[in-house]
């Protein structure tokens, strides 16, 4: 048995039965990272020493009879979640070398659960992108085909889980940045309801859309990871103390009622992806699900709405990078010249473009034409989805319109790449929980199926995902690693 290719749930059994130690698990994963990651490049930083120290502490807790799902389980963290004393860069040159003086709530909670931090994963700079090509350092490669992107922005976390370099990883999802890379890498990726997981210590991109979510190789592991990270935190005042029923979450749903929007089963979606959705719909129906086609016209306006709101919030959030308190500094005669030089040298092209778009749509004279309109469109999107959730337990959509594309394929076409988020953006605009699971393979590349539920209905989402996983079969490992 290869310790890096089993699920976190299987690792748990081995740890509890004392058949393997947390140190052995950590060492096996670190060895695999050092062997595979020079090729995949999922990690910006590997924390060998910290991982072995945390594994030792976890093993002591296990020996004292303690058990909880993530105790001694290795995991990876997207490098936009701050970790005290461990370099956190957001894949940006502007933060290169920065060691945060505090921990994000998610990092802290996982440490309290006894999970073992393997390292910090690559992303599109400041999480702005859908391919991890816009990392300020290097692109990550898809373990299924090294010439292709892993998706993004949490591409490093997705690739790490797909390649068996970590059983669990965390990413952040602003417009699909957990679900889309999960789909393109053939793993499970989940975005909780806005307000379920603390954003304290998540480096802000678009504060009304950002949400932290887990990657895993099966739904059960994703539920464990979600449960360890969720729950109110006084440091994030946008959180909600809504009920969640873990028992329902862990039981596969029986006869759920599911709607499939016609707007995601048209020519915008690759025919091979559509065919796999049809297969999944048939298998789910055979297993007792009631599936009907529905219409959600606002889906068509999701990308435009998102590309006004997200850059607007980003332009404000990224004003803090000014060379004064942390990060890059380039000296100049005056403070304002210093700030200009720092921001010009420190930000990459994609980040600068989004700051410009955001500043423009918020500027006087354009505010109502763009920003106010986008917020009204957001209301319509939410209303249409809520209306569906009064009739259906969940909506089923492809996660990504295509399978993984080639590195550099969309260079020079700013909108082509942004369409990658067509199916995932609505859940962010509405604050709904959503999950992507593997639906099969096309041309040797994974295809993801997405389920979306009403806000704070994570238990329903997980239970339907378990049903879907049981009829679609467990995802495979890419050949690279077998």
């Amino acid at each position: 048995m290869n310790l890096c290719e089993i699920s976190a749930s299987q690792m748990r059994e081995l740890l509890d039965a004392k058949k393997v130690s947390a140190q052995e698990l950590a060492k096996a994963h670190l060895e695999r990272i050092h062997r595979l990651d020079p090729t995949v490049r999922a990690f910006l930083k590997v924390c060998d020493e910290i991982a072995l120290k945390q594994a030792g502490a976890a093993q002591e807790r296990i020996m004292q009879g303690e058990t909880n799902p993530l105790l001694g389980i290795p995991f990876a963290l997207k490098d936009n979640m701050v970790t005290q004393g461990i370099e956190t860069t957001c894949a940006s040159k502007i933060l290169e070398g920065w060691k945060p003086p505090y921990d994000s709530t998610v990092a802290l909670r996982l440490a309290q659960h006894g999970a073992v931090l393997l390292g910090k994963t690559n992303l599109d700079e400041f999480a702005m992108g859908s391919s991890t090509e816009f990392s300020g350092f290097f692109p990550t490669r898809n373990p299924w085909d090294l010439a292709r992107v892993p998706g993004g922005s949490s591409g490093g976390s997705a690739a790490a889980v797909a390649a068996g370099m970590a059983p669990i990883a965390f990413g952040s999802d602003t417009g699909g940045s957990v679900r889309q890379p999960a789909a393109l890498c053939g793993v499970v990726g989940m975005k909780p309801t806005y307000g379920r997981v603390s954003r304290f210590g998540l480096i802000a991109f678009s504060s009304s859309l950002d949400q932290i979510g887990p990657f895993a190789r099966n739904v059960r592991d994703a539920i464990w990871a979600y449960e360890a990270s969720a729950g109110v935190d006084p440091n994030d005042s946008t959180m909600q103390d809504a009920p969640y029923d873990s028992q329902i979450a862990h039981r596969p749903a029986k006869a759920p009622k599911i709607g499939v929007p016609e707007q995601v089963m048209n020519e915008k979606i690759q025919p091979e992806v559509r065919a796999l959705m049809q297969n999944a719909i048939k298998s789910l129906s055979d297993a007792g699900a009631v599936i009907e086609q529905v219409s959600l016209p606002m889906i068509e306006h999701g990308v435009s709405t998102y590309y006004i709101i997200a850059p607007a919030e980003a332009s404000s959030n990224l004003a803090r990078y000014d060379g004064v308190r942390y990060g890059l500094r380039i000296e100049a005669e005056s403070a304002s010249e210093m700030m200009r030089r720092v921001r010009e040298a420190g930000f990459g092209k994609e980040v600068k473009e989004r700051i410009i778009i955001g500043t423009y749509v918020l500027s006087s004279g354009y505010y109502d034409a763009f920003y106010t309109k986008a917020h009204k469109a957001r209301t319509l999107m939410k209303t249409q989805f809520r209306e569906m959730f009064s009739r259906y337990d969940a909506l089923l959509l492809p996660t990504s319109p295509t399978t993984a594309f080639k590195i550099g394929e969309f260079a020079g076409d700013p909108m082509a790449l942004k369409i990658a988020d067509y199916c995932t953006i609505p859940a962010n605009l509405g604050g709904f929980p959503a999950i992507s699971i593997n639906a099969g393979y096309s041309g040797g590349l994974p295809v993801g199926l997405q389920l979306v539920c009403d806000s704070f209905c994570e238990q329903t989402l997980f239970s339907i995902a378990l049903l879907a996983e049981s009829v679609l079969g467990a995802p495979k490992m890419p050949e690279l690693v077998t």
């Binding site: 000296e331 778009i357 009204k376």
Partner: protein
Amino acid sequence: MSFTLEDLKTVSNLARLDLSDEELAQMVGNLNKVLESFRGLQQLDLSGIEITAHSVDTHSVWREDEPRNGLSRAEALSAAPASHAGLFLVPRIIE
């Protein structure tokens, strides 16, 4: 609605970005394509629709106004590119 080089210079000044001529030229084209993609949204009938700034209901969070520890001064200054006498040091501000 289109985006001119002059607009871009104004906005990049607001955003404190010191874009090179090459970047300016390339960005104008890209930004116009992005603006073009917003056209569908301009045609939506949004009269009488309330705005949504937060996807889920938010409410004010209160706590007792009691002193508690935050970062120490040394911790807050630990990553500062330049500091002096316990303060962040910046170049001349008044020109």
